[in-house]
């Protein structure tokens, strides 16, 4: 190969890689800018919960997010509506906080699952909860606190497990919901204005046994199918097309146990006895323009028999004529 050709080839190689890298980086930057662009945020307090409305109409996107929480059924509704021309969509997700479960970790995997023994269960929707109204916070965002009392059932006649007269100071489970009009820097990292962050704190949980742990059961459901469950260790996404809604959680020593369904999942977060907090859990919208979901689905994991069939057919189709031709030449 002449020097000129070598130079041309090297230039071509560098150009291809630079273009591919730049296109990929630009797509990532665009998605991040879409997520982190400042938005208008309004909050409204209600006796039994709160509702928030976040919207923007800019060059990056036109959409609105409606969030509401009902303390009585302990569920958060997150609705994302895209008004972008050609990309109109509505993704409704519901995150229900089902129960606190005291469990004995029979299979010793550090988390609550099917192989473990449930000692007692507090269904949150049955508890007499109270709501501190949503109120503005320093960054111009909103915060609201829902508190669920956990009365001790360990002695006496009443309660499903032979509970007694409740102790004077019951335990409590607190959820702190936060949403901001701009990116908020939290101890766990950046929280985008498209996200609702939920900190969970557990005080004085009334354990019945001395060798147990407690788990928070949640149910994530949507009107859209689950996508990209390969990253289920840090969260789950639902959606279609370029938009998705993601239920995410921070990295944990014992990752949560998840039972997946087509349109959602039940996810249980386990906490050791000494751990009194969890989070922040996050619920937020995302846009991914990098690779269309159809393309990702096309490139599914390998199937050995299909692979072997393809190889065999090609081997015969290409090999037999080649061998025959070589014999003729000889």
């Amino acid at each position: 190969m002449s020097r000129t050709n070598l130079r041309l080839f090297a230039l071509f190689t560098v150009a291809v890689f630079a273009t591919a890298g730049a296109a990929s980086a630009q797509a990532d930057d665009t998605d991040e800018a879409w997520r982190e662009e400042p938005r208008e945020l309004e909050g409204r307090a209600m006796a039994d919960g709160f509702s928030l409305m976040s919207r923007r109409d800019s060059e990056l996107g036109s959409d609105r997010i409606e969030v509401s929480f009902s303390v009585d059924d302990a569920s958060l509704r997150y609705s994302f509506v895209s008004l972008e021309e050609g990309n109109e969509t509505v993704i409704v997700t519901r995150l229900a906080f089902l129960a606190l479960v005291e469990f004995r970790d029979r299979d010793e995997d550090g988390r609550y699952g099917l192989g473990d023994e449930a000692v007692q269960r507090y269904d949150l929707a049955t508890l007499d909860a109270r709501m501190a109204p949503a109120e503005p916070v320093l960054e111009g965002g909103f915060a609201a606190v829902a508190t669920y009392p956990l009365e001790n059932r360990s002695r006496g006649d009443e309660g499903p497990l032979g509970g007694d007269t409740p102790e004077l100071v019951p335990g409590e489970l607190r959820f702190v919901f936060r949403m901001s009009p701009e990116v908020r820097i939290a101890p766990s990292g950046r929280v985008a204005p498209t996200e609702v962050a939920i900190d969970v704190a557990l005080d004085r949980f009334p354990f019945q046994e001395g060798d147990t742990q407690v788990a928070l059961e949640t149910r994530f459901a949507s009107n859209r199918p689950l996508v990209d469950v390969t990253d289920a260790a840090s969260g789950l996404s639902v959606g279609e097309g370029v938009f998705s809604s993601r239920y995410a959680w921070p990295e944990m020593d014992a990752p949560p146990a998840a039972v997946l369904a087509e349109d959602g999942a039940v996810v249980a977060f386990s906490m050791a006895r000494e751990t009194a907090s969890l989070g922040p859990l996050r619920l937020g919208a995302a846009r991914t323009v990098g690779v269309p979901e159809e393309v990702v689905r096309f490139f599914t994991e390998g199937e050995p028999w299909v692979y072997a069939t393809g190889a065999l057919v090609a081997l015969v189709a290409a090999g037999v004529p080649a061998v025959m031709r070589l014999r003729e030449v000889r």
Binding site: T300, P304, V306, A311, A314, L326
Partner: protein, 89 residues
């Protein structure tokens, strides 16, 4: 649904192997730089097939993860073909 990607990857690897063997046999007889570069190009395609086959079975996001190395191998093979075309006999 049958995985078309599995079928195509298996077929690509097998075809690349056959063509590379034929080209190597041709080089064995001809012993020219042109044919050697041609055979090297086909060998690189076979290596790409093997690489994609391994990724297919060990990496769930194999298409995304193997994109850059696969494009790189394509460029090396094309470069080899180009060199074969311009090399003196």
């Amino acid at each position: 649904m049958v995985s078309v990607a599995s079928l195509a990857t298996g077929a690509l690897t097998a075809v690349a192997l056959v063509v590379a063997l034929v080209a190597l046999r041709a080089w064995w007889h001809a012993r020219t730089t042109k044919v050697l570069l041609l055979a090297l190009g086909f060998l690189v395609f076979f290596v790409k097939g093997l690489f994609l086959s391994v990724m297919l079975f060990i990496e769930p996001r194999w298409a995304m993860e193997s994109l850059v190395p696969a494009v790189f191998l394509d460029l090396v093979a094309i470069g080899s073909f180009h060199a074969a075309a311009v090399a003196r006999a």
